[in-house]
Symmetry: C2
Subunit: 260 residues, 2 copies
């Protein structure tokens, strides 16, 4: 009686092309994942997912032999219910009289458990002694960090910053102090508030600080540029990145640290 | 006259199997990268690499049509010389009378620029207005974070901790305070010092803190477990992870934060 494994597979992160509701087509998915992750997806029949509809579209685009409608796809939502974790993991547990199965965790985009649901499920799997298997795949945070040219030896991810103006100002002051000591600071915003956050960064941060704006990475509208705040301020409006309603990662860092 | 692009491609992170000097074989490389990253490698003739010998072995395993010996492979080393950056990037710049070419940056393992050289090169590329393109690939930090089941909404990577006993103790005290506030703390150690660091963590950290040890991810000797410090302490020696001379990521976090 072998127990099943809890696999963590990333979902493509590109924004949906204009006029469509999903970014998932076969070419996009085949280009986003190493072949073993695709093979795993196609061989799996139990999925714990952030959102069932997008998971079905993803699995179809990933070439799952299906039928997709007959797969066991359980929606864990944006904030999985702690009381439900054991039930979701029960099919993975070795038990007399039946075969344990593997499960794949999927978020709507990117890596489960990183700025996305999945971590409590993984934590519970560890407590239950189940094997956990993360798979290589797209992460906007990682790609942004690699592409920013900022310090990748020391960095800190903050998730979302406060929305309220004074709280945001105070938080940016703290981030700036750590950034000036050489630690890269990463944060994200809800896409329709990106422009507002970008303006706040230009207004409040030190002109010498480097700011990387990483927009729609891997997607058709990808933009990836690092400039000092002063240079961003001086840029003609037409050359500014298009941020509205696109997924973006913001990164800031000063010059203090060695950045080999 | 189009300028060339600076591409960032990850190299497999698995430890070399016992008795060999490199982990690179064709199957490992083909399994580690999405097909477009492999295609890019095979079509590129200019590489800026941490270490030339391992880069050649990697490119051969990646199926580069070569001849490998005739590729332009420039060693940038562990701490690239700032004075050399412009020369290395010169072939990418648009100039009358010759065609600009693309370059791929490679570290010895994992993602260039993340706990590895490459960031200063990328920073200079941004200053010169060159396009930078990060590609999906293996990162021990990202896989460890995904697989740990700890907070993936707020996390901080510290690189290497101090070696000196008292400095390490002080640093662990700081890390623990942030971890107890719910932020995941990630750090690494030189592989032959992993055991010593693991012992220090068990001795000094709060028994309620969660510690994930992520060893040789994607490799034959992969181990990935999260337990509370108290549970790690109580584990029979035979069940402890084998850490010696294997690449490992350590992650700690308390229970404060929501971890959806």
């Amino acid at each position: 009686m072998n127990a099943g494994r809890l696999h963590l597979v990333a979902v493509p992160i590109a924004a949906a092309p204009a006029g469509t509701r999903t970014a998932f087509d076969a070419a996009t998915v085949a280009a986003a994942l190493p072949p073993p992750a695709l093979a795993l997806l196609r061989a799996t029949h139990y999925f714990l997912v952030e959102e069932a509809r997008s998971a079905r579209a993803f699995l179809k685009a990933a070439g799952h032999p299906g039928p997709i409608a007959e797969l066991r796809i359980v929606e864990i939502g944006h904030a999985p219910d702690p009381a439900a974790l054991d039930g979701w993991l029960a099919p993975l547990q070795a038990q007399a009289g039946r075969t344990a199965i593997d499960a794949v965790v999927l978020s709507e985009a990117g890596c489960p458990g990183i700025a996305d649901p999945g971590a409590t499920l993984v934590a519970r799997a560890h407590e239950l002694g189940l094997a956990v298997q993360p798979w290589v795949g797209p992460s906007a945070l990682l790609l942004a960090l690699m592409g920013a040219g900022l310090n990748g030896q020391q960095f800190r991810f903050h998730g979302y910053l406060p929305q309220e103006r004074e709280a945001l100002r105070a938080r940016l002051g703290q981030l700036q102090a750590d950034a000036q000591r050489g630690e890269t600071q990463l944060f994200i915003e809800t896409p329709y508030r990106n422009e507002r956050l970008f303006e706040a960064l230009l207004q409040q941060l030190d002109p010498a600080l480097r700011l990387c704006v990483a927009v729609d990475l891997t997607g058709a509208q990808q933009q990836l540029q690092t400039r000092r705040i002063g240079a961003w301020r001086g840029l003609p409006a037409a050359q500014r990145p298009r941020l509205d309603r696109l997924p973006a990662v913001f990164l800031v860092q000063g010059d203090a640290a060695a950045r080999p």
